[in-house]
Symmetry: C2
Subunit: 394 residues, 2 copies
């Protein structure tokens, strides 16, 4: 792999235009006026340079992307949507490697370099979703990195046999396991969490748990999760996705709970979907709780929305958080970049010497403008290799 | 103007591909297999055809669009934003005809054929905003129609002299007047509304009033507005914009209030901005209350967001309303088309013989898909004239 010199751009948080020298896929130097006679030079005058975007929460296995338009067919309740998915995923041929590949290609075109996808595992589908996502990810190896979370969508205890498939997934190389509403869905929060944390400790795995349970119930479950994270020595390895409850409790309790999550090194991942509550990301950030951002479902049996563009998703997060000032909007962009990297435990991420050269170049005067307008990606690099030019896969 | 035959498209709500024959800027026939030897033929095989999009609520006079990126500089409170705008609009040279023109051109490129813009009038700015918006609208005459609402942004009673400028605007050809939070901002709801309704009746004008006042307070003001609309014989001429209160009261009161608005022929215009409450548009529609949709501010001193794309704005409205099914998502599209037309009292609007040929052609399999993906506008016609091809102004 030849050296590359990205010349004349404005990397995020650098005060002046600087050049980026990439050697063997890794950022070697970031300085003004670099010379590198043997390097391929890519001029990006005045362009904003961001680190690779990170979708820290999606459901690749469920997507209908790239196929027919499938009008949403479920009723309005959660039970309707669960029943609808159970009934129709087989009929629609899900999971589908072509759909997953089409969606991943779109994500790449938008500058996403890492994806954490929850993937359903249960006694009916077994590891079929893991295999399908794995097949698509292998096709696009070197252009995007996909991490899977073995996810008990239909419950862990309430859908007998599912825990065994979580373990099976771990034995087959999946490194993170999921959970879902230990109280609201699975009806036994302590046992649900004990199964997850015991498995995680046994296999050296991480945890990323869906928590939609509202208000005091969800907040209490967050306490259980924080405690178990410390008890099992899993600081930095546990993420709670959605965590609507954090946006619904009073400020004083919010303050205490946020501190407890910070002390346990628990990350929060949010997608800012529909009108659902949003965790207070400014408060979380100030308290040292890592915040990541993802899409949630993209065009699937749970709903037709989602573009695959993490700059647009960061816009939704900033917008729903009523962030107007540049520095506030950058919090949402941090969630879609550095926060995702920390949740995914990525080494060597970012805009600094020693980091893997995953870069996104766009025309925007400030990072906040990039979030607001989410323009065409002029250039995307993954590991020092150009994978996208002018929004098109190379 | 030559005849035009739009051939092979799927007009919204037609079950099969049909041709549209346009004569003298008006839709003459919509039928399969039309022949028109003298007409210019435009083939749009399989494309979705929508009526012109209608932005029923924006603030053209405030926009910074097309200029420098201006980081938002206000604090978090409403008072901060008002003070910031009063202090900075002069410094930034607002209103600016070039900015307004740039934004209108972008709206046209996205298929917007009619815009209702609130325009600040007050003793400091006088009719300067009306003149600036008028100048931009004249430049783009024949490509977009702009209706102005004389808007007392800083209060009617609390900013003495403003009512006189509303009247001055009416004398200068503005046909709709606005109000703002008669209780929360202006502190005397009855007198505020009496001034507006008396002026409207005297000048044969319409009313479009900003109502952010929350909960029981805003709901009570909606009662006052419905009553005055009937008392003054202004059924069909009054719109309440935002109407957050409708989304905050209990269902039983909502039901009663919605019926009262329907009986008075009051329209509701929503922009679905930030995390603010959204009126229950499905309930409003079912009760016969007309619902329109707009952007609110686009890149101005109130916030940096907004694209000018009414299909994207309809997506925000559908998304925040947690609409997933096609028929529900179409309610948001109706607000961005037919609902806007009714609020603006447009004659001869829509996809039917006799309507003015304002059309938008996009690649989408269903109207819901057009909202979700808001694709490039392949073709936009205004009054039978092609104004946009492939997203670019002709």
């Amino acid at each position: 792999m030849s050296d590359v010199l990205i010349r004349g751009g404005h990397p995020w948080s650098f005060g002046e235009p600087v050049d980026i020298l990439i050697r063997a896929g890794v950022i070697d130097r970031i300085e003004p006026g670099l010379e590198a006679p043997d390097a391929e030079v890519i001029d990006v005058p005045g362009r904003l340079v961001l680190p690779g975007l990170i979708d820290a929460h999606c459901h690749l296995d469920k997507t209908l992307y790239g196929g027919d338009w499938v009008p949403h067919s479920a009723g309005d309740s959660l039970a309707d949507r669960v029943a609808n998915e159970r009934a129709r995923r087989g009929e629609l041929g899900l999971p589908n490697v072509d759909n997953i590949t089409a969606l991943l290609e779109r994500m790449i075109a938008f500058g996403t370099t890492h994806v954490r996808s929850h993937v359903d595992v249960d006694p009916v589908i077994g590891l079929g979703g893991v295999e399908a996502v794995g097949a698509a990810a292998r096709k696009l190896a070197g252009r995007v990195t996909v991490e899977m979370v073995a996810f008990p969508q239909f419950g862990l205890l309430t859908n007998p046999g599912t825990a065994e498939y979580l373990e099976e997934a771990l034995k087959n190389g999946v490194q993170t396991i999921g959970g879902i509403d230990p109280a609201g869905v699975d009806r036994d929060p302590v046992r649900h969490l004990d199964i997850l944390f015991d498995l995680a400790e046994q296999y050296g795995a991480g945890i990323d748990l869906h928590l939609h349970d509202p208000g005091a119930l969800g907040a209490w479950e967050l306490e259980l999760i924080a405690d178990r994270t410390r008890d099992h020595g899993l600081e930095g390895r546990v993420t709670v996705s959605h965590a609507y409850a954090l946006g619904q409790i009073d400020e004083a309790y919010q303050d205490r709970l946020v501190d407890r999550l910070a002390a346990a090194g628990v990350s929060v991942a949010t997608a800012a979907v529909y009108s659902f509550p949003i965790p207070p990301i400014k408060k979380l950030d100030a308290a040292g709780v890592n915040v990541a951002c993802g899409h949630d479902g993209i065009r699937d049996l749970w709903g037709p929305y989602g573009s695959g563009d993490m700059l647009e998703r960061a816009m939704h997060l900033a917008y729903r958080s009523t962030f107007r000032r540049d520095e506030d909007i950058e919090l949402a962009l941090r969630a879609a970049t550095y926060g995702g990297a920390r949740a995914l435990n990525l080494d060597a991420y970012g805009l600094a010497p020693g980091a893997v050269a995953d870069l996104v170049v766009v025309e925007a005067r400030t990072p906040a403008e990039a979030v607001v307008t989410h323009p065409v990606r002029d250039l995307v690099m993954k590991g020092g290799r150009v994978v996208v030019r002018q929004g098109k896969l190379v």
